[in-house]
């Protein structure tokens, strides 16, 4: 695990395939986001921070784990900025850095709740494991 691991904005752009400069700061992503209350940096801020190179702060922010990957922001964004893709890219960068898994299959049964949608499990695996 390399401790001096850094990620440049260019890498985030390459991973996500998104151009944050297209954002016109309309706020539709943030208006839509169901995880708004849980987030430290909201989707439109996230985009602006990637644009201005503040990747380190984002990597340490809990926002990247609060995003539900519901894709609502992608659906609404009129400029094809697709904030969730950027969030996913930063999260991936953190995982590459840490190298480890954050969700161990054995722990899953005890965390399950009856009305939990299956899709959540799938997206949790995507999100929290390498």
């Amino acid at each position: 695990m390399a401790s001096n691991y850094t990620v440049t904005p260019e890498e985030i752009l390459a991973i996500s395939g998104v151009n944050p400069r297209r954002c016109m700061k309309c706020g539709r992503c943030t208006a839509t986001c169901p995880a708004f209350a849980e987030m430290e940096y909201h989707p439109h801020q996230f985009v602006a921070m990637v644009e201005s190179g503040r990747i380190g702060e984002l990597m340490n922010s809990r926002s990247i784990y609060r995003c539900l990957s519901c894709m609502a922001c992608i659906e609404r964004c009129p400029r094809q900025v697709d904030p969730a893709r950027l969030i996913e890219a930063v999260r991936l960068a953190v995982e590459r850095k840490q190298g480890g898994n954050h969700l161990i299959p054995d722990q899953v049964p005890e965390r399950l709740e009856p009305d939990m949608p299956q899709q959540l499990l799938v997206s949790a695996y995507r999100k929290y494991t390498k």
Binding site: M24, C26, T30, A31, T32
Partner: protein, 664 residues
């Protein structure tokens, strides 16, 4: 032996910064046939032109090559200059070393090399140039305006005022356009009907103006000064000359469940209808989709009650052909369909409306008699949320989004907010905006008044979701300045839907051979210097069909288009373009391929007698070009398999000489 002069322009630093202009002039001096070459800062200036004229006289030049900007910019200027000293203007060639060279290169060495190559190609062409003389064609002194909105009406009035006949073709049963549907107008808040209906009457009564309402243009042929236009007069089932507009038929018609397009479907009308009380012409129209008589053969009530005997169930579409000297497109705009924007619940709740629908809901002649009542339960809304930029400024077109700003929405939303507050001061109004764009005389002051005087809540942010619930609209939104997510319980949501060109515009542009941009707005000949002319000679643009505009801008542009038309119609004859195609009858095999490709229908075939070597005669079919119709596009010359078609000024041998020079 040709004596050619080469003149290299610096265009300030536009060319000189990337092209070594002196080196180009020096290279020219070594090209065979060139007897004089020089460079100068601004060749298009008076002293630059004098330089060319003096050289023509001093060296007895037989051809001139100017290395400068695009011929679209200054070919005319330089042709005029050489013409003034007795040289045929078609002996002048332009080498475009600006748009096609200095502007696209950064490296001076490469730029210079390319400029020299372009210069040599132009010299090679100039060597083969022959003098051409333009023919003349007469001008038909009548103009056609397509679309009878405020743009078309103003253009027609101005043309008529100068003494020329004008016809308006309007697809709807009445003229007036969108402005007739508006309630009050920004920035002065004067009543729209009060200013537009007198204009409609003026148009209707003007002796020089003829209105073809409920009609469409179905074919256009010909060219500037001499267009031939086919107009389809749709069957109205009411004789325009007999109908007095009394409206008795509309009252008696039993078929009353037809969505009223004038009120955007917010209420119903009868199958026989007059769109609104001030319609011009005030003549009834039977809607063939709903009339019981036309569909089921039973009813005929309107005919029985009509005292003027104007109803004619046997009416059919008719086509007429009219000649015009000039054509003006004034087809305006439509409101984009927002039903794909599910998040705003437009299709789910009748209380989510577009801004134009809101105009009708506020209008005294509208479905609610001017009282603001929401469509679902006819109660007065207490909280209204306005959403800006719905479908505008998007790069994703899957839902019909537009990349452009619709321009008028910021102003009309401020208008709606203030008018609502004027009538019902206790209404809570929220406006969600990305930017408030209000440039224009007294425009920003207007918007600030909404905020400061009327207390309209302007929120920098967006609406993410509208959920209809128990008679309310739950609006989830963002407030970016407060970094908050909000929920508002609203009674109505008003969407500032993007505007888009008339859906018939592209078909019309094809008929007119007028160009359009990727959004289907008509393109102007030059974005700054020729804003009301289309690149097609004799076709002009008026109003929103060229791009989003408010009424003041529309009227200004309408007047400008009229003045261009008047300028054209005031001429008795037009100089034609001598760069037209002609066929070599000895080589033509009459294969028809050129006629198939000619977009202007300029080519016909004649049977001609030819004397053969053995003194017999033979009749052969050969192509002939009508020089008045040919636009010199050159499509036929590249198509002709026998090389019989050639274009004056751009002959096959001239083009090949240019290519040879470039390859050398």
């Amino acid at each position: 032996m040709q004596k050619i002069g080469v003149f290299v322009c610096h265009c300030g630093t536009n060319i000189a910064a990337t092209v070594d202009v002196e080196a180009v002039a020096e290279a020219a001096r070594h090209v065979p046939g060139v007897v004089y070459a020089t460079d100068y800062t601004y060749m298009c200036s008076q002293s630059g032109q004098d330089l060319i004229k003096d050289a023509v006289k001093k060296y007895g030049l037989t051809g001139v090559v100017v290395c400068s900007c695009s011929p679209r910019m200054h070919e005319k200027t330089f042709r005029k200059a050489v013409d003034s000293v007795g040289m045929n203007p078609y002996l002048l060639e332009i080498a475009n070393i600006r748009e096609q060279c200095s502007w696209v290169h950064k490296d001076k060495e490469i730029g210079t090399k390319k400029a020299i190559a372009l210069m040599k190609a132009a010299v090679a062409k100039a060597e083969l140039d022959s003098p051409l003389t333009a023919g003349e064609t007469p001008v038909v002194k009548r103009a056609l305006v397509i679309g009878g909105g405020i743009a078309g009406m103003q253009t027609a009035l101005d043309i008529a005022d100068a003494g020329y006949d004008v016809d308006i073709v309007e697809k709807n049963p009445t003229i007036g356009g969108k402005m007739a549907q508006l309630d009050k107008t920004f920035p002065t808040l004067d009543c729209s009907s009060c200013i537009v209906t007198p204009k409609m009457v003026e148009v209707g009564q003007n002796e020089k103006i003829h209105i073809y309402s409920y009609s469409e243009v179905t074919n256009v042929s010909g060219f500037v000064g001499n267009f031939k236009v086919t107009i389809k007069r749709k069957a109205r089932y009411v004789d325009e000359t007999k109908c007095t507009g009394c409206g008795l038929c509309t009252e008696k018609c039993p078929m009353k469940k037809v969505p009223n397009e004038f009120n955007l479907g917010l209420n119903n009308r009868s199958a026989v209808y007059i769109p609104f009380a001030q319609a011009v012409p005030k003549v009834a129209t039977i809607d063939p989709n709903y009339c019981l008589m036309l569909n089921k053969g039973v009813c005929g009530l309107c005919s029985k009650v009509c005292g003027a005997g104007a109803i004619n169930y046997k009416d059919t579409d008719k086509e007429i052909e009219v000649e015009y000297g000039a054509i003006v497109a004034a087809t305006g705009y439509e409101i984009m369909d927002v039903s794909k924007y599910d998040e705003y619940a437009y299709s789910q709740s009748p209380d989510v409306v577009t801004s134009l629908e809101y105009e009708r809901l506020m209008n005294a002649a509208g479905p609610t008699g001017g009282e603001l009542l929401r469509p679902s339960d006819h109660k007065r809304p207490k909280t209204i949320v306005f959403v800006q930029c719905v479908g505008s400024r998007e790069c994703d077109s899957t839902r019909g989004g537009k990349p452009y700003c619709s321009k008028i929405c910021c102003m009309y939303t401020a208008k709606h907010a203030m008018l609502t507050k004027d009538h019902y001061p206790d209404t809570d109004i929220y406006v969600f905006y990305i930017d408030v764009r209000t440039p224009g005389k007294n425009f920003d002051e207007f918007y600030r008044r909404a905020v400061e005087q009327y207390g309209v809540h302007y929120i920098k942010g967006a609406v993410g979701k509208v959920t209809p619930e128990n008679g309310k609209l739950i609006v989830q939104a963002s407030d970016l300045l407060m970094n908050e997510q909000l929920t508002i319980d609203a009674d109505m949501v008003v969407l500032a839907a993007a505007i888009e060109p008339s859906h018939s515009a592209r078909h019309l542009a094809t008929m007119l051979t007028a160009s359009m941009d990727t959004n289907d707005w008509f393109t102007e000949a030059h974005p700054k210097l020729r804003p009301v002319e289309s690149p097609t000679a004799g076709v002009f643009l008026s109003g929103v069909c060229q791009g989003p505009k408010d009424i003041p801008e529309t009227v200004a542009q309408a007047g400008a288009a009229a003045s261009k038309v008047i300028g054209l119609l005031s001429k008795d004859k037009l100089a034609g373009n001598p760069c037209v195609a002609h066929s070599d009858e000895m080589m033509c095999t009459g294969c028809s391929q050129c006629a198939d490709v000619c977009p202007y229908g300029a080519i016909t075939y004649v049977d001609k007698e030819f004397r053969m070597r053995d003194r017999t005669t033979k009749v052969r079919r050969v192509a002939q070009v009508n020089p008045a119709v040919c636009q010199g596009c050159g499509a036929c010359t590249v198509t002709c398999p026998s090389g019989a078609m050639d274009l004056n000024g751009f002959s096959n041998s001239e083009i090949m000489a240019e290519v040879d020079a470039l390859c050398r």
